[in-house]
């Protein structure tokens, strides 16, 4: 009887270790507890070159109207692989982004190929990246195409991006 109990305990113990090892080695687990992404941005705004928003608390004009086309090269949030996701931000930083952390408006467009789990994971990362409270925030779906045109990355190189 005592021997049986020992065997049962050993079996339960083995099972618990196996489960712990399985959970620990799951490729979907986020061991660091961080949602992370690496993304390529194509960005333009209403300021003249170079946008003073990166060195000052105000844009060149009382607005900074922008487009940002984004391709996520890699990243993970929990079980969600973020690689390949595409989104586009159109908006206006307004005149209080540098002093009151308030943006005027932003529209987040997700490419149809970006899955719902990717969108759900990316939304808080996008908001965290800019750290602004938006007066108007809308989300929509639209096809996004990003192309690099030209023979090299030198003088003749241009980048065109479309949101249709």
């Amino acid at each position: 009887m005592k021997q049986t109990t020992k065997k049962q305990i050993f079996k339960i113990g083995s099972l618990a270790v196996a489960i712990l090892l399985f959970v620990g080695s799951s490729p979907n687990s986020s061991s660091s507890g961080q949602a992370r992404m690496n993304a390529d941005y194509v960005e333009a705004c209403s300021c003249h070159l170079f946008c003073p928003c990166y060195f000052n608390k105000h844009a060149e004009h009382p607005m900074c109207e922008f487009n940002m086309a984004v391709h996520v090269r890699g990243g993970q949030s929990g079980a969600t692989n973020l690689a390949g996701a595409k989104y586009w931000l159109t908006g206006d930083l307004g005149d209080e982004w540098g002093t009151a952390k308030k943006g005027k408006w932003v529209v987040v467009s997700f490419d149809p190929t970006t899955t719902k789990p990717q969108r759900d994971a990316l939304a808080p990362i996008i908001l965290k990246t800019y750290g602004l409270e938006w007066g108007e925030l809308r989300v929509q779906e639209a096809p996004i195409e990003i192309k690099r045109i030209g023979i090299s990355r030198r003088l003749n190189s241009a980048t065109a991006s479309w949101l249709t």
Binding site: Q34, A44, V107, T129, S157
Partner: protein
């Protein structure tokens, strides 16, 4: 958007390094461009510019996952 790269003094382009991109954790530098066309017509908002600020950049961004 349609952009053209700024050639810089040697024709190899201009890259601005060591400048923070909002709250992103890191970036590889701002590759400077100018807009040939930059417009929007979305959700009741319209604008249209050219010959203005533009750049390409790669960023690393992240945040804690709730409950982790």
């Amino acid at each position: 958007m349609k952009l053209k790269r700024e050639p810089g003094a040697d024709g190899n382009g201009v890259v601005l390094k060591n400048v923070k991109y909002f709250d992103a954790q890191s970036n590889n530098g701002f590759e400077l461009y100018k807009s040939l066309e930059h417009r929007a017509d979305v959700q009741g908002h319209q604008f249209n510019y050219s010959d203005r600020n533009a750049f390409l950049i790669s960023i690393d961004s992240g945040m804690p996952v709730p409950g982790k």
